[in-house]
Symmetry: C2
Subunit: 369 residues, 2 copies
Amino acid sequence: MPSHFTVVQKDSATKARLGRLITAHGEVETPCFMPVGTQGTVKAILPRDLKEIGCQILLANTYHLYLRPGHDLIREMGGLHRFMGWDRPILTDSGGYQVFSLATMRKITDDGAQFQSHLDGSSHLLTPEKAVAIQEALGSDIAMVLDECIPAEAARAYVQVSTERTVRWAQRSLRARGKSDQLMFGIIQGGLFEDLRRRCVEDMAQLPFDGFAVGGLGVGESEAQLNAIGSFTAGLLPADRPRYLMGVGRPQDVLAAVRAGFDMFDCVIPTRNARNGTLYTSTGKLNIKRAEFAADRRPLDEACDCYCCVNFSRAYLRHLYMAGEILSSQLNSLHNLYFYHRLMDKCREAIRAGGAGRWSQIYASLDAG
Amino acid sequence: MPSHFTVVQKDSATKARLGRLITAHGEVETPCFMPVGTQGTVKAILPRDLKEIGCQILLANTYHLYLRPGHDLIREMGGLHRFMGWDRPILTDSGGYQVFSLATMRKITDDGAQFQSHLDGSSHLLTPEKAVAIQEALGSDIAMVLDECIPAEAARAYVQVSTERTVRWAQRSLRARGKSDQLMFGIIQGGLFEDLRRRCVEDMAQLPFDGFAVGGLGVGESEAQLNAIGSFTAGLLPADRPRYLMGVGRPQDVLAAVRAGFDMFDCVIPTRNARNGTLYTSTGKLNIKRAEFAADRRPLDEACDCYCCVNFSRAYLRHLYMAGEILSSQLNSLHNLYFYHRLMDKCREAIRAGGAGRWSQIYASLDAG
């Protein structure tokens, strides 16, 4: 049994589990959602407000911080926690996904990923060893290995070659590891092919990782494919280590994945949607810019007790959005993150209560809209 | 003696005074600074954080709220306080300054100010009566009369005509008044001409206003002119009513005006500068985007105990600014407003202490940089 993760309770009706993950900056109760703090800030949210929302752990992006302000600078400044004023756990990704989605002129070789910065076009080589070194400089609590994130439509032959390389990169990452208080998670690739996912798990599960992530989902596949591959892969992963479904997703996706046995999630959806005026409520999603809200005195969500819902009307939130006010992004982001964190609370309560009825209540609250 | 304003103490060394202003939403200790909440929000600041900073009263812009979302909507929503989630006092300007600075195709007649909206080009007529009606719909604690704000370089003949009109508009505003729990302030114009300022005060001081503002400064004149005309006019105003220097200014301007006997101030400088990276500290102004701060571990201001200075380094603030993060505007605005509010605290303490030495200490803290 690894000492950093304990499955506290298993759900009776589903594969969901309640867990406790111990990191250098404290404990995390799982299932948990990690807000995305791409450039060393969860956009539009003060760290103290993140704590108030109940955020236990956040994610920061290695690719962005490596390019600006640079990992060496952050190390000099005492590490990412101190730099961004966040004393709870941080997970850093490896940069692989951003190389795939943001950088230009990518070239993947066995050595690593060659790419040009989306900021200034400068050339960089990200190797598995470099990704470890950057994350050690950042001082995150959980580091992810470098992987190649491939599109959902990739051909089987390429997926196979790429996934085998991801396994070799994972082995190199473990060898490069130099920090004893940083957990390291392996990443399962394999596209939409169950046999390749299985083979990847078989190779990875032999390696002494502190947890395993499933990557390459939420990148263009259907909801059915996401759920099928996610659930299939979760079932293969070692039960004694945390399972992290990377980059997923919408509330219903997260809920399905919790029931399939995943423990950790991250996604830009709540914060990005907030800035675009798309807000989650207990009666469904709504777009605050719609004219119907112009004189709506009700809070965004009458069932919500977040700072935004307690103090402001839909009419005011619409006004802020239409006027292009920064406060719009602040309040909307607070609310959406609050919504996601309460969803995770409900999932943990459902597991604790051990009654299948709880899950249908949660579904009902998401389906209402 | 008016019941809404009391001069609690006069400074021994200057004309500064400590006062208590009573409004429908509570008391304000003067001298006070009012952050500007143009569109019904002090940009990038949650109302609860404004309270934490010590903000007693804020200013909102009639021109902006009239155009969007509209004063009728705000009245329907229960008034501006409820709409924007702010239960402390609000002063609304009359819209005159924005007609002068933002609107196009202005035409000023005795009737009022005809202008085209800067948002959609629509035509509007703002009369003294309309300005009162809008501010009553907004439900502010203090309403300002409509005035014509003229540029510093205006010719004497025009200033005279315009100022006489401003007095007639003030009389019409009082007649239009229909709300007993809203204070109304007259505005002194007269440009840079002492005799016209004096004549305007003589006319206005006879009218039953609850306070008097000095307008038409901070619009292009020199610092010497601002101080001379400001101080001259303050000395003419009734001592038993609050004196408000509109739209001024930099910390040193506010300090000079407090010493000349002004009680109230508003300015976009702290918040606008914050968003542009210009920050006030006890050792002078600094621009956070400068490369010299890239690896600077120090807080913005080592003498400051605001949330920003307690938790973050200059290096982090520079990173946020360079990365275009919303958190940059949030933290910078928090700090600059905190700085202004502490400056007002120091002014009130100096008056209370009654020692001239205090003023030179405050000056020294501003001059250091």
